[in-house]
Symmetry: C2
Subunit: 269 residues, 2 copies
């Protein structure tokens, strides 16, 4: 059985070009969910020759992908002894370039380690029920299970009178369950709903402009989580003149920091 | 009088290639200070035709620059109605590509605004004295004035027994004074010393691998700070198997959030 995330992001390689196709199950408002695009770009890196495991990936969302085929051109501007750099462009024929990305992979050696921060207080996933989405909600939401320990998911159209906190804490898992890897982690980085929806209590016109995810474990360490829920935290610092930031953390069920992610979001409100 | 930052990052344009040269005054351990490289890349974006003001820039440090000339090749994979995307490569002839970057510029329209976070408590810059660097310190440090409200700068070689907090708060300014702009803000994003030096109380072998800065104000709003000190905060979440993250904020003297920045740092300890 191929998991839907792997089926949707499947790529065919021809030299340094990987071909894929958008998938209706990961559809957002006007194109695929940004995490789908990030996941496909990560797959291109992993399916190309590379050194070590992903350490960083930045995706710039230039324009919504249109339904249909896409090509990811990948090149490696630099190969070092224990790390490697990548530049990627996702294009769709006449529709042009829809996304650019850069990535760094590296061999993670043993070192002096230090974890000054703890995972947020989210209890256990069993303490909460799955969020149920409205029928008209974007398709990609059903590709995940979300269990909110703090915060809300809002799909209304009318902003509330008072601003809510931008912070939320939630248990997250692929639906159906799938062992977490760098592809799913890259996709989950964008699975926190844009902070403005939480603060305003309503959906507004918005889109991720650029997202960067840092990975803090090796593939082996990541595999230890299996398909258990991971704990996500998302927050924002400022909403100003049409853009807001978003910071997030993804922790393993056992409390190990798997990834931190940052994005800048365009909004019209 | 041309400020040293502008003199050091001066570029000569030939089509979509900008030529520059490393400068000894911004030298770090084994190449220019990463903020110099970021500043030069930002200058290339600003001196090329572009829409609006910088919103995001990611710089991947592929390899230390060698002393001498460099070329920045810039292209724009996408131009939208009110935003534009850029991809850049900084190369040095036979030495190859030393850095890659992506950037997004956009016109910032009036919108619903919200500032959920306040600037860190740093008193006033007049409350503190300039940090005095050891004579053997890296040249670029003298291009700044740092006034520490919280945290330390450490240049020793022997790690302390107990880990210190990764967080520091400091007033920062170009030295000599220079009105803050997107070039200096990009450079300052990398002017916080790597968090491992603060936590360990000593310098170890380290280098920024990738850095992303988000800008939260327009050029006009940024200009309001003039050449006053800005307030910087830097922190880290995890140090693990040779890499640690770093998050930072830069606030205007008046308490407006100018930029947030994130980086992943390689270390050997």
């Amino acid at each position: 059985m191929v998991h839907i995330l792997d089926e949707a992001t499947v790529l065919t390689r021809s030299g340094d070009v990987f071909s894929g196709r958008t998938h209706p199950y990961y559809w957002n408002f006007t194109g695929p969910f940004g995490g789908f695009t990030g996941g496909a770009l990560m797959r291109a890196v992993l399916e190309r020759e590379h050194i070590g495991d992903p350490v960083a990936m930045t995706v710039n969302y230039c324009s919504p992908l249109v339904e249909g085929d896409f090509e990811i051109a990948i090149k490696s501007p630099r190969t070092n002894k224990s790390s490697q750099h990548f530049s990627l462009e996702l294009s769709q024929g006449d529709a042009g370039i829809a996304a650019t990305a850069t990535a760094v992979t590296a061999i993670r050696r043993e070192s002096w380690d230090h974890a000054p921060k703890q995972s947020p207080d989210g209890g256990q996933p069993e303490d909460f029920k799955d969020v149920v989405f409205p029928k008209a909600a974007m398709a990609w939401l059903s590709r995940y299970r979300f269990r909110l320990a703090d915060g809300e998911l809002n799909f209304g159209r009318t902003p509330r009178a008072e601003n809510a906190s931008a912070r939320s804490v939630m248990w997250m898992a692929d639906n159906p369950a799938r062992p977490v890897d760098f592809i799913s982690l890259m996709a989950m980085s964008d699975a926190f709903l844009a902070r403005i929806a939480q603060v305003r209590g309503a959906m507004v016109k918005l889109g991720t402009v650029s997202m960067t995810t840092y990975f803090h474990v090796s593939a082996e360490e990541l595999a230890a989580n299996g398909d258990a829920f991971v704990l996500g935290m998302a927050d924002a610092t400022v909403f100003h003149r049409g853009f807001h930031d978003q910071i997030s953390e993804i922790w393993s069920r056992a409390g190990v920091l798997l990834a931190t992610s940052h994005q800048i979001v365009y909004y019209r409100d």
